[in-house]
Structures are given as C-alpha cells and as structure tokens.
C-alpha cells in the first residue's frame, strides 16, 4: 500500500490509563475491556488521509510502569508525534504528566508534536481531573489537548488525526527535516521530497507543539 508520508508515533503515560485501548480503538475500531498487559512495547499501524494524501501512521505503544522508561526512551528518538495519555478518573496520572513531558522532551527531537490526551471521558461520574485543568496544562506546555474515550471511541480518531495534521503542517512550514528518518517521518516510495508547497485544508489549531 503506497503512502505520501509515514509518521511514527509513540504513546506514553502512566500504567492503566488506556494507551493500548486507544491504539486498538484506532487501528481496529474496537474496545477490549479485558486485554493483555503491555510488556516492553507493542506496535500498531493504520492509514489515514489528510489533505487528500495517504498518510501511514506507525504507532509504538509503550509500557507505562516507571521502570520501563529506560526501554521506552529508545522509541522517542524516531517519533514525530507523541500521545501523552492520562486518566481523567485518576488524579495521580495527571500529576505525573510533568515527568513524562520532561522525559519526552529530553529524548525526542525538538519538533516532536505532543498531543495531551485525557482518556476515559465516558466515566464522567468518576472524573477527578477537570477538562479545564487538562486544557490549562496543555496551554502552559504548548501541547494539543483532547479528551477521549477508547471505550466509546469518542475523539480517538480525532486525537490521532489532529496530531498528524499538526505534523503535516510543520512539514509544510519546513520545520521538520523530512530527509532525516530519525525525526520519525518518511516520505512515501513514489513521492518527491521537494513537493512541499501544498495548501493545507482546514487543519486544527496550530499552537506549535514542542517549542520549548
């Protein structure tokens, strides 16, 4: 299957926030309440369309336990986008965002787009973190923000696609060095690398992830 671009993503966040479920919902469009614990890393991929272009997303789903960060770190370098996930029903997963972000910023390329995700939005009655708090954190750290539910699929598609749009936009702006695969972006086999002057249609907010 041919594609214009290939973006590599990494999903990070505390254990049990729903990283694997988000990936499964995005790649397979299903929710599995009982699933295997992720040891090390898992992998998923899917094709999306942005601005009429086929874009392949290759996603690394990582183990959330603190001890595994040394393994996770080796996956940051080759990622163009990161989904930083917390669980809106567990305040501690929100409190740990700063350390996750430090880790991500330190080990990734400076242009990596980071999408902050408050997952489990279907569990409104058990909510511990207000949406406004997520928005404020994202604003403060220059991230894109969305609340999702891997269970109901609410905003899952959008979270992955908006991140891709942001990356695509950065490519158009010439921020990304697309010839360096270490940035997590690859140009499709039949695509010319100089063809970057395409108009961008209706992309979302452009707060410029990873600017600090």
């Amino acid at each position: 299957m041919s594609y214009a671009y290939l973006f590599k993503y990494i999903i990070i966040g505390d254990t049990g926030v729903g990283k694997s479920c988000l990936l499964l919902q995005f790649t397979d469009k299903r929710f599995q309440p009982v699933h295997d614990l992720t040891i090390g890393v898992e992998f998923g991929a899917r094709m999306i369309t942005i601005d009429g272009k086929q874009i392949k997303l290759q996603i690394w789903d990582t183990a959330g336990q603190e001890a595994f960060r040394s393994i996770t770190r080796s996956y940051y370098r080759g990622a163009a986008g990161a989904l930083l996930v917390y669980d809106i029903t567990r305040r501690d997963t929100f409190n740990h965002l700063t350390t996750w972000l430090e880790d991500a910023r330190q080990h990734s390329n400076s242009n990596m787009v980071i999408m902050l995700i408050g997952n489990k939005s279907d569990l409104e009655s058990r909510r511990e973190v207000k949406k406004e708090e997520g928005e404020a954190f994202a604003r403060e750290h220059g991230l894109i923000f969305m609340e999702t539910s891997a269970k109901t699929a609410a905003n899952v598609e959008e979270a992955f696609i908006n991140t891709a749009k942001e990356i695509y936009e950065k490519i158009q702006e010439g921020v990304f060095d697309i010839n360096n695969e270490a940035n997590g972006i690859k140009i499709g086999p039949q695509h010319s690398p100089t063809n970057t002057s395409l108009p961008l249609s209706g992309s979302g907010s452009s707060q410029g992830g990873g600017c600090c």
Binding site: T15, D28, K29, H35, L37, I39, G40, R46, D103, Q106
Partner: protein, 559 residues
C-alpha cells in the same frame, strides 16, 4: 488497514489448559527417575535431561519444577512467604491494576480465586525484593507457576527463577542486562540465520522490538499454555541460555514467512500469527524439538564484545558530552526528586489545610456545644429553683395539713370527753330516777299498807279520800315522771347533737387526711416525673458536653 479480520486478533495470554491426564508408560518412566532424584536432591539423575526435553507431563510439572529449581527443601522460603504476604506493600495498587491483565485467556485467572492468589504472590515477591518491588512481566511468570502449585511453593520457585536463574538481573539497572541479551541474540542470529538477520536490518526490525516481551516474561505472555510450560521445563533445566534457544527456534521456524514481510508485517507476525501457530500440539512439539536441537555458543564472547562496544562508545564520546549526559541524568533525577518533593509538599499543604478546616469545624462545633451546655446549665439552675419552690410549697401544705389534723384530733378528744360527761350525767340521772321511783313506789306501798291497816282510814279512803289521795298522789307522781322524761329527752337530744358533731368532725378529719395524702402523692409524683426526667436529661447532656469538650481540647493539644 483499519479493518482487520477476526483472525488478526492476537491470542490472549494464558490460552490453553492444564491437562492432568498422563499415560501409564510415561508415568512409569518418570517415577523411576523421580525416586532416584528424591533420594539425592543435589544430583540430577542422568535420564532426567532426556525426559524433560520431551516435556514434563502436566500431572508431574509442579513437583518436577520445584525439584529442578531446588526449591523443594526451601521450607524457610515458604515460611517467609507467609510473613511477606501478610505485610503491606507499596506496590499493591500497581499489582492490582495488572492482575486482570495477566492470563485473561485462562478461566482460573478470570475469576476472583485465581486473581487473588496471583495478587498475593506478586505482593509477597514485591516485599521480598525491595530493589525491584513489582515489575510488569513478573505477573505472567507467577501465573504460570500458580497453575501447577500452591502459592507458597510458587513463591519459592519464583524466588529461585529470579535469583538463581538470574531473571532479576535483567530487570535491574535500567534493564542493562536485557540489552546485553538483545545484543547476544543479534549476534546469534547473524551466526545462525544470516539471511533473516540482514533482512531485519534492511527493513529496520531490531531485536528489542519483539524480544523484550519474550525475555522479560520467559515467553509466558502471548504463547499458548502448553508452549509456555514446555519452555519453562527447559528453562528450569538449562537456565538462561534457553531464552536464546527458544528465540532462535521461533525465528527459524517462521523464517520463511518473515523473509517476505516488511517492517509492519514482521511486527504483526510476531504479535499475532507466531503465537497462534503453536496452538496445535504438533507444532508445539516441533518447536520443542527445534529448541532442543539449537546450540548456543560464544555467549561469553558476545558479552565481552558488547562490553567492549559500550566502552568504545563511551571512549568515543567527548568527555564533555559524557559529563553533560551525566549532568543531564543527574538533573533529571534531581528534577524528578524535586517534583516528588513538590508533590509531597502539595500533599502536605492540602492535608494541613484539610486539618485546619477540620479543626475549625470542630472548634465551631465545640462553641455551639458550649453554648448549649451553658443554656442547659441555666435551665438546670432555674429548674432547681422551681424544685425548691415546689418543695417549700409542699412543706407548707404538709404543715397546714398537720395543724388541721391536730386541730381535728383535739376537737375529737374534746367532743368525746363531752360525750362521756353527758353519758355519765345521763346514767347518774337515770340511776337517780330509778331510785326515786323505787323510793316513791315503796312509800306508796307503805302508805297503802298503813291505810289498809287503819279501818277508819280505810273507810274514809274508801269513800272519797282514797280517790282524792290516790288522785293527788297519782298526779304528783305523773308530774315528776313527766319532767324526768322531758329531761331525759333533752339529754338524749343533746347526745344526738353531740354525736352528729363528732361524726361531722370525723368527716372533716377524714377529708383533711385525703387532702394531705393527695398533696403528698402530688409531691411524690412531681418528684418522679417530668422534673426528675428533666434533671436526669440535663445531667446527661451536661456530662456528654463535658466529655466532648475534653476530647476536643485533647485533640487541640495533640495538633
């Protein structure tokens, strides 16, 4: 891409069963070996290797695994387990979160019995090994053991696997040794399957992408249970090099497929098709056979090479870079500690605020209670006054009643003395009357006799005088009797009046008695009922308030 068919779904971990059936001939072969072995636990019998490499029958696995791990005589470890399992662990929350994500493919771990057992085992290990605590991946090994033996024994074998079989050294120091194992696997692949190795290099598949789960869980996650058990059989027999043997066997058996797949295809194959392939007994046995046939050599050399490479890259690195990296690392841990500190400070502040709030609330409550207490005290005083007043009244009433009674008694005695006086007078009078009647009768008879005796008189009397005398005497007599009778009547009348007065006085007396009793009863009743109740309730309230106040003040002091 998005639409994956059902067959693309990966196999859940823990798929399969424990089959306790075992053929007679198989058991015979084993029983001989086991007897020999049990006689000398330190010495593995010669035939053991051949038997284990064929796969240990499920019925014997629990026992054989313990014998292989030399954990059977570790009764100390089992005792330790009982202590550790009762202790609290800082990893409890984390373990709980992973329990239902371990072996969800197996019935035992889908229900609470299995989950609790697994939870306890992981918790006990986290208490046993403070450096690792609980690390994701361990739960799979623990679960596999629990399918063959009770918790204490599984704990002893787990401890042996982690320490004596060196699984734990892969988990520590940021998984440094795990990376050495990846490097060794890479070199082994280059040696033994160069085509696949170069294909992986070409498409960008690196060993850590598929082997981290294999190595950290000893292949227990993902694969069907009979394969998991085969691998554990050989692992417990041969130790850590089994990891390479199994990995190489898996790669060589899937080589044909892997060679034609791209990056995504290869990773998907590892995730989905590869574990599913070994669902059949036949394929699993073939995997076992292949694993046994693989020779792993030069592991020591590769290790040296790896260390040399690391050293080289360290040397190549600008000392400034190294220092800055070190600095970065330190800054990072500093930052983390600071964050932790911040979190703790935040927690401290919040809990302080909460405590302050609680204290304020308690103080407010104490204030209101004090006020209530004060009000209760005033009302108590008022009520006591009222009580005193009522008592005075009662006393007064009693006094009045007493006086009235006295007066009545006095009256009664006076009346009775009068009555007795009258009675005496009456009796005297009636006695005199009788005497006089008798006397007059006697004198009359005497006169009559004398007259009768005198003939002249008799004559005289006979004619007229008698009548006259008779008449006058009779008249005199009648006159006297009449006056006596009148007197008697008068006296009787007076007696009746006196009696009446006595009766009236008695009635009055009785009445007064009634009044007195009623008054006394009233006093008693008022003592017993509302007044007493109010007093008791007030007393109780006062007592409670005092206790509360005391406890509040104690709390305030302790704070």
């Amino acid at each position: 891409m998005a639409e994956e068919s059902d067959s693309d779904e990966p196999l859940p971990s823990g798929s399969g069963e424990v089959n306790k059936d075992c053929s007679e001939s198989e058991l015979d072969g084993w029983s001989e070996v086991l007897n020999k072995w049990k006689a000398n636990l330190q010495q593995r019998p010669k035939q053991l290797h051949t038997l284990v490499r064929k796969g240990v029958p499920d019925a014997l696995r629990g026992e054989v695994w313990q014998l292989l791990a030399v954990s059977q005589d570790e009764s100390g470890l089992m005792d330790t387990y009982r202590i550790l399992v009762a202790k609290e662990s800082s990893c409890e929350k984390m373990i709980k979160r992973d329990i239902n994500r371990t072996f969800p493919g197996h019935d035992y771990f889908r229900n609470s019995d299995g989950q609790e057992s697994l939870y306890r085992l992981c918790k006990a290990y986290s208490n046993f090994d403070a450096e690792i605590g609980y690390c994701q991946g361990l739960s799979f090994v623990a679960a596999a053991l629990l399918l063959h033996m009770p918790e204490e024994q599984a704990f002893a074998v787990l401890v042996k696997i982690m320490h004596d079989y060196h699984l734990r050294s892969m988990f520590i120091c940021g998984f440094e040794e795990l990376y050495l194992r990846f490097y060794q696997l890479e070199r082994l692949m280059e040696d033994q399957m160069p085509e696949l190795s170069s294909h992986f290099q070409e498409i960008g598949v690196e060993t850590h992408m598929f082997a981290s789960q294999w190595f950290l869980t000893l292949f227990t996650a993902k694969f069907p249970l009979h394969v998991v058990f085969f691998i554990l059989d050989i692992f417990l027999l041969d130790g850590i090099e089994t990891l390479f043997k199994v990995a190489l066997a898996l790669l060589s058996l899937s080589k044909k497929e892997l060679m034609v797949l791209d990056f995504e295809g290869v990773l998907k194959h590892f995730r989905v098709q590869l574990p599913k392939k070994y669902r059949t007994e036949e394929n699993a046995r073939f995997l076992l056979k292949t694993t046994n046939s693989i020779k792993v050599k030069k592991l020591g050399k590769y290790e040296k090479d790896y260390q040399a490479l690391k050293e080289q890259s360290k040397q190549r690195e600008d000392p400034i870079d190294r220092l800055s990296r070190e600095n970065k690392r330190l800054a990072e841990s500093n930052m983390r500690l600071e964050q932790e500190n911040d979190d703790l400070a935040h927690e401290l502040v919040t809990s302080k605020i909460q405590l302050r709030k609680d204290l304020d609330l308690a103080e407010d409550k104490a204030d209101t209670l004090n006020k209530e207490l004060l009000a209760a005290r005033t009302s108590l005083i008022e009520l006591e006054d009222e009580k005193r007043r009522l008592q005075d009244e009662v006393n007064q009433l009693k006094e009045i009643c007493r006086r009235e009674l006295e007066r009545a008694e006095h009256e009664i005695t006076r009346n009775s003395s009068i009555i007795s006086d009258y009675k005496q007078i009456c009796s005297q009078l009636s006695a005199r009357l009788e005497k006089e009647q008798q006397e007059s009768k006697a004198s009359i008879t005497k006169i009559i006799k004398t007259i009768k005796e005198c003939e002249r008189c008799c004559q005289l009397f006979k004619s007229e005088d008698i009548n006259e005398v008779n008449g006058s005497e009779k008249d005199d007599e009648n006159e006297f009797t009449k006056s006596e009778n009148r007197r008697i009547r008068e006296l009787e009348l007076e007696l009746a009046r006196t009696k009446l007065a006595l009766v009236e006085a008695e009635c009055k007396n009785q009445n007064l008695f009634h009044h007195l009793n009623a008054a006394q009863a009233e006093v008693q009743a008022s003592k017993n009922t509302w007044f007493n109740k109010t007093l008791t309730s007030i007393r109780e309230v006062t007592k409670k308030e005092l206790i509360k106040e005391k406890s509040n003040s104690i709390r305030r002091e302790s704070n």
